[in-house]
Amino acid sequence: MHEDELLAMLRALPCADMDPRRAREVRDRACATLGRRQRPAARWLEALAVFYDQLVEPVLVGALAAGFLAWVAGRCVEALSKGSSVFF
């Protein structure tokens, strides 16, 4: 049997459909479930993202930068106090 031929015949079979009222009920139930399951998590994640963007990230980056500069300054002061011409 030619493979393409059989597959083409099967592909040509029409689709059946649910009763429109039942199809609507299924859709509404699924959408209600989707909304119930997703919204609290979405709100929570959104708040977390805003918190991270506006507070955590700037503070973290600022703290790291300040720490590095303080460390460099400390090394410089230490080297100068010992009268060394070579800092590091």
Binding site: M1, P14, A16, D17, R22, R27, A30, T33, G35, A42
Partner: protein
């Protein structure tokens, strides 16, 4: 639905966007119901299975991978639900297709004779399909009717692609035998579309 649209729909589903759900529902509603109906042979069972499948999509949407292929995902859930329902009810399949499958109207303009021939042929095909054992029927439904690739169908059935190819080959032979065909000649596209004359044994 092209892949880009499907990926957007998945992102929407993960956000809980009901319009994304509607797009997916419209795309797969009939295909999923037809698959379940042809697999179970009973409209009530098919409706239950399809409803549960959509509810599972809604429940698990947030956990979907960004690159999920929705068709195989939905067919996997529906197929597993069919198997679970057979196990729990200890009743595998009816001996024939649901009558509704035989009464789906044909589309496209045809003469009454062409239409009657196509309708008769379609009924024979549905009956032959319905009488195949489930493992063979499901591969024909997934690859033949739904257009999944053999690899995707293997994923749905939980078998290796090589095993699925062998099963598909056997299923084709069984279907041809059930239809009483020997080696049908290669059809032209128009004949296939009209369910016209096939070489019959």
């Amino acid at each position: 639905m092209d892949r880009e649209t499907e990926l957007e729909a998945i992102a929407g589903l993960k956000r809980g966007d009901t319009s994304a759900f509607d797009a997916v529902y419209e795309e797969y509603r009939r295909r999923l119901f037809s698959f379940a109906l042809r697999l179970t042979g009973r409209r009530e069972n098919a409706e239950e299975i399809v409803q549960e499948t959509w509810l599972r999509l809604a429940t698990r949407a947030a956990a979907l991978r960004d690159d999920t292929f929705l068709g195989p995902w939905l067919f996997t859930v529906a197929r597993n639900l069919c198997i679970s329902s057979w196990r729990s009810s200890a009743s595998a399949l009816s001996g024939g297709p649901d009558p509704d499958l035989l009464e789906v109207p044909d589309t496209g303009g045809r003469s009454p004779l062409q239409s009657a021939e196509a309708s008769e042929f379609r009924q024979r095909l549905e009956l032959a399909l319905a009488r195949l054992p489930v493992p063979y029927r499901e591969v024909l439904l997934l690859v033949g009717v739904e257009g999944l690739t053999p690899s995707e169908a293997a994923g749905v059935c939980g078998v290796r692609p090589e095993a699925l190819r062998k099963r598909l080959e056997r299923a084709r032979d069984m279907l041809a035998e059930a239809l009483g065909w020997e080696r049908p000649r290669t059809l032209r596209a128009s004949e296939v579309a009209h369910g016209g004359t096939y070489a019959r044994g």
